[in-house]
Amino acid sequence: MILVTALVFLFPFFWMILTAFKGEKHIYVSPPEFLPIPISLSNFSDVMEVFPFFKYLWNTFRAAILSAIGQTTCSALAAYAFARLTWKFRNAFFIITIGAMIIPPTVFAIPWYMLYWRLGLLGTLAPLWVPYWFQHPYIIFLLTQFFRTIPESFSDAARIDGNSDFGIFLRIIIPLARPSLVAAFLLHFIFLWKNLMIPMMYVNKESLFTLSVGLQALLGGTIKPPFNQDMAAALMTSLPLVVIFLALRRFVFSGIAASSLK
């Protein structure tokens, strides 16, 4: 049972890999051929003529890394205020912060589009990462949950040693919360890499396409490439994330698991 369901869930990914290595003669056949015999590598070079993988990879990577850095910084700071400081309206503002998670991105799409246009940012990658230096309520929520689990006595000891809140944040919380920060960083990195709608709205130049936008653009061109080339492009888009996930899945799982502690 467990094996069968696991294989069913892996099948689309397997099918992507198998198709990516098949020659065109071997995909438009019925019944389908399962194994790619002979193996055809030319799909990858062929599709790169309409899908400049390395250019899109560089755009995606830049946006994802810049926003993940900013996101983790902004959220860790805010989470410290929610988890370790006492102030008026703290609980009310925390509930509003959680509530902000459910605002559909379509709600801020139009004003932000106008804002980017006025600031001359529409022809740049900035709309994909700059906003995340200031907001991503989900990650704030996640880190607040983590920070609350660090015993208060650690901060008290550091305070007696003459540390300010910033000292405690940097010397106590950050080192102790490192796994959760890695989790937050990774979850945001994956989120940004995968995202399709936001770059479709704000990136209107082909030279700034992310991998996901480039992939859907294959369907919009004058000649749609055959499916083996589509699958080669899809595989190249997915593989970096799959590898990162397999290497660091412990952090990804623990990050998601923590987000349900309510």
Partner: protein, 310 residues
């Protein structure tokens, strides 16, 4: 002496406030951009005929009236979204819960299976959508091949206005990753003694599930239900990639016709293809009210069914 004490106390209080503000500063800017600026501005646009070019004119509730009274596609897109939610939300919750139960007893396979169940979460939806598009291909798709083996007809799923929605819903239902992990974590948190007690009392497996497991994980269940609903209400990527230019149109998804145009897709087309920012803003406000209203109703109802530890 007491005066300077009071001064230093006031100064300490001031300093504390500044510390809180400093930690919150980035998020406060974001909060302002998100709530005050974005929602306020979208609300304002929704009462105008703004289309990115003309001089904006206040037209009252005309956008809302148009959408609700005379735009059939608006209602169709709401219906399509509701259809997909009705399949995908129960589907995802059921699958992720069953799989979490499957991996509860540790074995050589559970690590592998957890990765397999989770994997669709880390594959960009543009790629996943393309694979499903290929698998649902009418002539050469592997799904119709499997149906053929069972002597069932193999339709042109994505070109058929009745079948395109179920096809999208099936593909979307495999995105169980985060819900699965939350169920796994919730099941781990059920204290072992509860199961032992149930066993001593001679409770059947079904009884233990009903009286111990389900109440204990009900907060996770509700959390997953609400987040899944919110996520699927905004479904965009999968229908877009599975249907884009499917019937030989140019640069349009959600077909054939409008049969798989979801709410988010329709709003995207209104804004970024028709440049009708006024109407798109009205749609955005409607979606905000719907998501907020239904989420709050679900959370309200949860106090009746959910067992919180206190």
């Amino acid at each position: 002496m007491p005066e300077s004490l009071a001064v230093s106390a006031r100064r300490r209080k001031m300093q504390k406030r500044l510390t809180v503000l400093a930690f919150l500063s980035l998020w406060l800017i974001g909060f302002g951009m998100l709530f005050v600026y974005a929602i306020g501005q979208t609300l304002a646009y929704s009462f105008t005929n703004f289309n990115l070019m003309n001089r904006m004119k206040w037209i009252g509730i005309a956008n809302y009236a148009y959408l609700i009274l005379s735009d059939g596609v608006f209602w169709q897109s709401l219906g399509n979204t509701a259809f997909i939610i009705a399949i995908v939300v129960p589907g995802i919750l059921l699958l992720s819960f069953l799989f979490a139960l499957l991996v509860r007893t540790k074995s050589a396979l559970t690590g592998f299976a957890s990765v397999a169940y989770f994997l669709p979460f880390v594959i960009p939806l543009a790629a996943t959508g393309l694979v499903w598009r290929w698998m649902f291909n009418g002539q050469y798709g592997v799904i119709n091949y499997a149906l053929g083996l069972l002597h069932l007809p193999g339709p042109d799923w994505l070109l058929n206005s009745v079948l395109v929605k179920p096809a999208i819903a099936i593909a979307e239902s495999t995105l169980i990753g985060q819900y699965f992990i939350i169920f796994v974590a919730a099941l781990q948190d059920v204290p072992h003694e509860f199961y032992e007690a149930a066993e001593i009392d001679g409770a059947s497996g079904f009884r233990t599930m009903w009286s111990v497991t389900l109440p204990m994980i009900s907060p996770a269940f509700y959390f997953n239900l609400v987040t899944c609903f919110i996520g699927e209400f905004q479904i965009f990527d999968m229908p877009w990639v599975m249907t884009l230019n499917g019937g030989g149109q140019t640069n349009s998804g959600g077909g054939p016709g409008y049969s798989s145009t979801t709410f988010s897709l329709y709003m995207y087309m209104k804004m970024f293809q028709e440049y009708d920012a006024g109407t798109a803003s009205a749609m955005a406000m409607i979606s905000l009210v719907l998501v907020l209203g239904i989420s709050i109703a679900m959370i309200r109802a949860s106090t009746r069914f959910v067992t919180y530890e206190r």
